[in-house]
Symmetry: D2
Subunit: 369 residues, 4 copies
């Protein structure tokens, strides 16, 4: 007999991803944000409430660790079936993933979780021994993991939490993970020179990148409680958009008229003043990450869409380590995408993410005793 | 501006899989049955009508050839969004796949397609130069392609049209394909000795394996018009369940009390009388396939779940060819699943299906000039 | 201090491959024939005596199981260094492989092993738990495993024992193995219709395929003592040349004027009378193999250069099993070579042999408890 | 009819690797040093003169680009057969590779090439459009590419020119290449803190790393004529031994009593004074390479045995580029060896070298129009 249970009455449920303490409903902000249940019974539904203006959220879910479904979500509050017909007595692990990143261009784009409909009992979901936070841009948001090579539209359909290098790395290492990422953003500015699109600015908030009153209402602007979830590793995969901005026109603030541009010299090389500004942003961000995560090993990763800025990044990471005396920070090059491993929208595809996960997890293993 | 168009008003739509001529609505019977559209516009929805008693259908779909979504279907008539936010002027190819096989244990399990909601125009979908029919059992129904290794429930969630060897072979060869398959069934009887579960018995009907008045009403019992879609290749992947039935108890017809069993000798070998009956069924089926598909090359495939019956099958195929003088029939062994390539429910997983598709498409290429 | 030891004084040495009991010297007849030693000391040489008229032998060797050298051999009796500079106290496993098949076109082509020069002590080489005999043609002789794709010369350089599917299968299963093979030969006749080139004719001799007085002198014509080395598996990989002979002109015996040809019908199909003769030869050979190897499982393999004759072979194997009641014989299709896996001389390359070894070893494992 | 031709009479022969202008005989100094001929005829031998005290040279060779043989060389002057029995009219490409590095611990270890014995004619070997110089340590010397995983002896048998990342990269890019490498050496000192083992010291000589009067006599100490062979790319793969030296005891000069040691701080971190010395050595070497190769792109590679020193190296490369204004220098991380890709002596095996060649060639392609 199916019955409905509000999620606040399911303490056994585990919440993934940065969010508030609210459970009436639970709001999912970030890529890979979601819930995880161990549940008996033959059937299982989730009650969602979905809002958006432009960019509709998608979700994927796994049953017993294997991906079984993915769908576009409509607006409204409604029930979605996740499994049915299963052996009632066995314990099923269900993990729900927000496939779409926090969509800073649409202040209304959210998934909320209200309740479960089911005929079983909930069992606790154990914490994993290892925790990893991934900080990144479109690569970490899984942009291009779904879709044909020829696709060019920047739409939610082509973003995927599942199968990304972050997801795969966590699987290989049997780790919990969280994603803090924005497509097009960088350490110092966006791919098109907008200095507002700098990930470090919002790092201390739950989800400060989402604009507008709805985020205010939901608490996304609140301070994030780092103490509640201290990662063993913080992976930063940024720099690709900062590098790209040197080849883009200046960005002009429509309100103030102020403009910003990372410059190249007449000979095509990067203007070193701007490189130094970028490097200072790298160093500052590392200091901030360290302050928020005192015991984590921090690994700056780069390279899945080329290594043009590698030496500048590596130099900045080395300088931070040297100047701060921080011995738990390092740099790792990830595999570049190739004609074979590219996905849609000229972004890394599954194969490239798989190669990156192998390299990254192999590297992290050296620090796990 | 979104508008609704009944599918009968979309002659450009291509229908895949055996079905009737009815388009009010279009009924999907078989694995990989579905529709395909080339459509402009930014947004695209499909109106489904879904019925079932026990086994709910699932569907997958591709956009421009790449898989983007898969979901369990609820009962009722409702709209499902397939894409939105895309560049309006570009032509999008959308292919909808019934993931679940014709579910002969549930006479109510159907997907019907009524209409599209969209803001573009439909363009013709060209026929492909090559056509392939796949005849098979659970392997061809994609059972086990989805789901964790430990899964044992026989439920729709673990069946998948997309990613099977049939799907992949068609992709490699750029072919249209149809699937005629039933999990547990064989050439002569089911895995548990039920002589009713013999694929040849229903080969000439559109979908005779579905029971009851609803199938009668929908026309599944009608004769299939082979002339409308003549395949270049007919792939038969049967024998696994016939072989298994030698190790199962006798099957007793509850109505008549009659029983049936494929027997083993005291020394463990198969009783040759029963083997000969099986072999005759193979030969008869080949004759029937030939009668229905005069110009097709027929390839009997076997081996993805072991090759125990290989010599018996090969012998029967050879005997058919010799006795009939049919020079366009041959036998092909497919890769056996391994610990690495197994999927859920002890069935071949994606890797095994991929290997099978490579072997099969490589073999078929030799016959394509 | 290096010293010389005649091999007859080294009872710890293990001999691989069919040969006589003579150890003054040891004669190597077949592909992969050779010796194996476990030896201490820093340095190790072997004294060879090499003869040939047309086709010079080559050898490969492994140290501790890894291939380290391969070279063409000159005529004469001389010392060849195998290792030097190694830690004296450790035990080194050295395995010497004749890379060239028994060269039936050159009655003088032999490698003889006389003595070792060394500064250590010999330890016993344990027998392996599993023994496999491989019977085959050019594929099993490793023709085409070495050399560029464009090569067409039929010369010893392009034959290799090491890396063949036989070698790799034995490695995967940790088995001892012997090879009985002739390039161009078949079950009933050679690729060019010579009925003299039938492997079964010489199966009971040590090496009856080698012609002339030298083979007489060396004892190659003596009866092989099957009891001394009873394999667990006999792998027969034949049929490719028999199939090819249907497309070749008749063969005329220069001495008697008699001719022989496997025929095709006007419609291109094989003449069934000739197919039946071939099939009888298959059945007779299986009976002979069984008589010589009472407890072995016999697996007839086929397919690395196409599967044209698969149904005929499978039919014959099934008929033999049925008529004889022999339950330990089966048929296995091996992976066909592709543009990617082809080697030199349009023969399977390393990749194809690797794939074949994986399929074959996976199959054999099912019979090993 | 075989005839002997002194190599000085074969102007069509191409010489690979740094060497003198002497051709009576040609002396091979470095890994992958050798000759290349395009020759007709059925048979081909080379007359070698081999000397050594401790470390015997090995060679490998290819025919038409495919590896066919590898053997340990004895002392003395003698003929070695490379091919025979080939179609006389076809042109065969033969490439002879010194498998062993310049062995600075054995001042007598050389291969000299005197003459060819053959029955054909020589044709010119065209220069390739692309030239690459590889500078490195044991990794670039191919140490560990041959031999079982358990091997620990530091002996020539386990060094290989063929199959290394340098060889493979050159193959993928269809480039000529030269190797300048020493196992155990670094930019500033050896793995065990010997400051004499610094590759930059000898970069301007043909082969200054070889000691003693024989090298003097052979001309290895002469200045290398960089103008004769200007590479398009210089790949430097150094740093692994410099990093290791921080964990080794001090090195004491037996003659002077002077000692040297790269130091760690009490907390385990590297002493930055010593790191700065190392970094200055990197910068100085880059300047020297640039001076000798004005138009080459220089890529500093690192990572096949861990990336411990990556940030220091990257920082130094970046500093060199910035200070010198040299825009054609960059840094590339290569794949780390894993349990699967390790070879013998805890060095990268073939798989790791293959992965490195794929990454490196993929990167270099971006600079080739």
């Amino acid at each position: 007999m199916l019955r409905e249970t509000q999620i606040k009455e399911v303490p056994q449920m585990k919440v993934h991803g940065r969010t508030t303490k609210c459970r009436e409903p639970l709001t999912l902000f970030w890529t890979a944000g979601g819930f995880e249940c161990n549940v008996t019974g033959s059937e299982f539904w989730v009650e969602l409430e979905v809002t958006y203006d432009v960019y509709e959220p998608w979700f994927s879910y796994t049953v017993n660790g294997d991906w079984v479904g993915r769908q576009m979500l409509q607006k409204g509050r409604y029930w979605v079936p996740l499994f049915r017909g299963m052996s009632p007595e066995s314990v099923k692990n269900v993990r729900f993933y927000k496939d779409l990143q926090a969509m800073s261009d649409d202040g209304s784009s959210y998934i909320h979780i209200h309740a479960f409909r089911h005929d079983g009992a909930f069992l606790p979901v154990a914490d994993k021994a290892l925790k990893i936070e991934f900080i990144g841009d479109s690569i970490t948001s899984g942009e291009g993991l779904i879709g044909a090579k020829q696709e060019v539209d920047w739409i939610p359909m082509f973003f995927s939490a599942v199968k990304s290098y972050a997801y795969q790395t966590a699987r290989i290492l049997d780790a919990e993970y969280r994603v803090y990422s924005q497509s097009g953003w960088g350490v110092h500015n966006t791919w098109d020179n907008n200095p507002g699109g700098a990930l470090p600015k919002y790092y201390q908030q739950i989800c400060g990148v989402m604009p507008g009153p709805e985020n205010e209402r939901l608490g996304g602007n609140q301070q994030h409680e780092f103490a509640d979830w201290q990662p063993d590793f913080v992976i930063v995969n940024l720099g690709t958009n900062d590098a790209a901005s040197f080849d883009q026109p200046e960005w002009v603030d429509e309100k103030t008229g102020a403009s910003h541009k990372m410059r190249r010299n007449p000979d095509g090389s990067c203007h070193m003043d701007d490189v130094r500004v970028f490097q200072q942003a790298v160093k500052d961000f590392l200091g901030l990450i360290r302050a928020c995560n005192p015991r984590a090993r921090i690994v700056w990763c780069y390279g899945m869409i080329g290594i043009d800025f590698q030496m500048y990044i590596c130099e900045a990471v080395a300088a931070y380590a040297q100047e701060s005396g921080d011995g738990k920070v390092s740099y790792l090059q990830l595999p570049d995408m190739t004609d074979e491993s590219v996905g849609s929208r000229e972004h890394p595809g599954y194969l490239c993410h798989k190669q990156a996960a192998e390299v990254l997890s192999g590297y992290l293993k050296k620090f796990i005793e």
